[in-house]
Amino acid sequence: MDLNFSESDAAFREEVRDFLRSNYPADIREKMERGVRLGREDFVRWQQVLFERGWAAPNWPVEHGGTGWSATQKYIFSTELALANTPAIIPFGLSMVGPVIYTYGSEAQKQRFLPDILASRVWWCQGYSEPGAGSDLASLKMRADRDGDHYVINGTKTWTTLAQFADWIFLLARTTSDVARKQEGISFILADMRSAGISVRPIITIDGEHEVNEVHFENVRVPLNNLVGEAGKGWTYGKLLLQHERAGIAAVARSKVRLARLRQLASETPEGGEALLADPVFRRKLAAVDIELLALEYTDLRTLSAVATGGAPGPESSILKIKGTEVQQAIDELYMEAAGCYALPFTPELYASPDIDDAQRIGPPWAADTTPHYLNGRKVSIYGGTNEIQKNIISKAVLGL
């Protein structure tokens, strides 16, 4: 048992750090630090910085533009991106549809789509959930009926993150309704968001933001060529996509950054007041979350070590999503509590815009978005399979119940 990274891995970490020091755009960094809303172009520009360096898609096979990194290098890379507080990589292209296309797509689809995904020239969104199909995704109703050399698509997708920015959507739709199991007859289809009959309706989230949407399809004609793999196998493909990205699923490094910042803020003495860190109750709550996160970090590392030494991830890897989101939400709560009475003002026009400086914010600048962030953050235990669904999976797959 050894806590240290090998010399070559440590050198790799230095290489990543050097790169980030000189290539992480200062304006995006400042927005991230101030909690200002990022625009489409911020995400794209950052992903293109990584692309230029050849680091856009560490998980992809080398022949499609991947890095050929070891599991440990991928872990280090994702950790360093988080420690540098870089924007999250938008997953829909690089982590989701890309791997499905290079695994199951035709040669023509690979050539047509992969280069644009890799270079973040095309923005993708994900058409999975429907108003009547959330946790029970296989009960989805969207239909894709054949008509000559096209599918005609009808139905509604929901919770479609950043669809307002998207050029393309990948979706699960029913191509056969006469099936024994509801998981059958579902196909994985790619659609151009400019197609006639697609309309996007914003859903405003609890923090007042426009992050998710409903996407309606009314007689949308999509060429048969846009079917990925075989018709009716979409459920299998879609599941692969959900388990593809392991590195970073627990969000350990991001939570560490947030917790360290909170400790710093809580140690500062406000004028005429007392530092929150002087309160033993708050200090213990902080310590309890810190320990939970430390445990999670080592659970993550155990998984990494198993994979890096040629084994499969152990049963402990199944808990990363649940524990990771629990820790994120616990940190959200602590920030809100730390903000005191300044947890109340709701002023997105002051904190979300890059043009308003800190002095114009109400209360301590860092406090401005703590409650909206807490409110929005309730989503993390809901999306990507609720934590209850995750527990069902562990119960069945790991405990054999």
Partner: protein, 374 residues
């Protein structure tokens, strides 16, 4: 970054696993627990034969030079078997003080017996109002005729009744909680002025409150330097804390497995109770708590082994988690086993008791959270 064991460590683990599985059955353990001694001397002699009692000691002292990782491996298996032999008190605690602070003469006098299992030891590391702080020592040590006179009261000393050697911290200078001024003394069994009030503990082990009244010892009984015993004591307690945490993780693993298995066979309302989602999710919680605790155990053992500056904080994190998760896993295991879970007949109840006892040994979850928080 590597969590795999060396070949030697794997061998140690395999031999322990084999022994616990085939030679340490629950019914024999129960019979031994009810015997006058409270454990099996024959079994303890086998621990010595296998070399397990020698693991933590240096090679020049007749040991194998094992460290925190080896201790963790041993104790996790002892937890799985719910071992009642006095390895913790004798080898980890009393042996630990000698290992970290004993002179060559003291080691020569005591270690061969501890290692071959012919004698056992005890460490009187707490006092009635000490609240798990080893620096809170009221017991006095006064100079006397070239030696020392000791007087005071030691609380819940594990294995004191049967130990040939009791190590006693006593204060020769300073206030009740001063870090300086504590000296350690090796007392042979039967020393005049030492009286014991012995009792079983909730988990079936033996302990005693020890009263020292004008106990006269020679200068050669002092372990380490006068007034500088605390650092030695703390190292032994750190080892013991890691040891009981590893034991607890072994117990947790057994409780998770036994509960899941039971829920597959126990039928109510025409279904195995494991088919009910309310119970499934609770068992998943038990599983997650166990894995998170195991992660912290590896972290703490690796940091101790590496001599990391952060090792002390790592232990606080671990012991907090063991206390908190141990309570939850133990309670859930009992709850899901239903009425049987609160009987003396079922092994689960005994695992729960030991886990509960560990929660009140070397500091509770709250004590360690407080120290971690600073």
């Amino acid at each position: 970054m590597d969590f795999s064991l060396t070949d030697e460590q794997s061998l140690l683990k395999d031999s322990l696993e084999r022994f616990i599985r085939s030679d340490y059955d629950f019914d024999t353990r129960r019979t031994q627990l009810r015997s006058e001694l409270g454990y099996s001397q024959t079994t303890y002699a086998r621990f010595a034969e296998f070399g397990w009692t020698a693991v933590p000691f240096a090679e020049e002292d007749g040991g194998f030079g094992g460290g925190p990782i080896e201790l963790m491996i041993l104790m996790e298996q002892f937890g799985r078997g719910l071992v009642i032999e006095p390895y913790l008190a004798s080898i980890v605690m009393a042996g630990g003080v000698l290992r970290h602070g004993g002179s060559a003469q003291q080691k020569a006098r005591w270690l061969p017996g501890l290692i071959d299992g012919s004698i056992t030891g005890a460490l009187a590391c707490q006092e009635p109002y000490g609240r798990f702080d080893p620096a809170r020592v009221r017991t006095r040590a006064e100079h006397h005729d070239g030696g020392w006179t000791l007087s005071g009261h030691k609380a819940v000393v594990l294995n004191a009744r049967d130990a040939e050697l009791i190590i006693v911290p006593a204060r020769s200078a300073g206030d009740v909680s001063a870090r300086d001024g504590i000296s350690l003394f090796a007392l042979a069994q039967g020393t005049t002025g030492v009286s014991l009030r012995s009792y079983p503990t909730v988990d079936g082990l033996q302990a005693a409150d020890v009263t020292l009244e004008g106990v006269v010892v020679g200068a050669d009984a002092m372990i380490g330097k006068e007034g500088h015993g605390l650092a030695i004591l703390e190292r032994a307690i750190a080892d013991a804390t890691l040891a009981v945490c590893a034991e607890a993780v072994g117990i947790m693993a057994v409780l998770v497995d036994k509960t899941v298995e039971y829920s597959k066979s126990r039928k109510q309302f025409g279904l195995p109770i494991g088919a009910f989602q309310a119970l499934q999710h609770r068992m998943v919680e038990m599983f997650m708590e166990h894995e998170q605790t195991r992660s912290l155990l590896y972290m703490a053992a690796m940091k101790l082994a590496a001599g990391d500056d952060d090792a002390g904080r790592g232990l606080h994190a671990l012991k907090y988690q063991v206390g908190r998760a141990g309570r939850r896993i133990g309670q859930e295991a009992v709850q899901i086993h239903g009425g049987m879970g609160v009987t003396d007949e079922l092994d689960v109840a005994h695992y729960f008791k030991r886990l509960t006892a560990i929660g009140s040994s070397f500091g509770t979850a709250d004590d360690h959270l407080g120290r971690y928080a600073g």
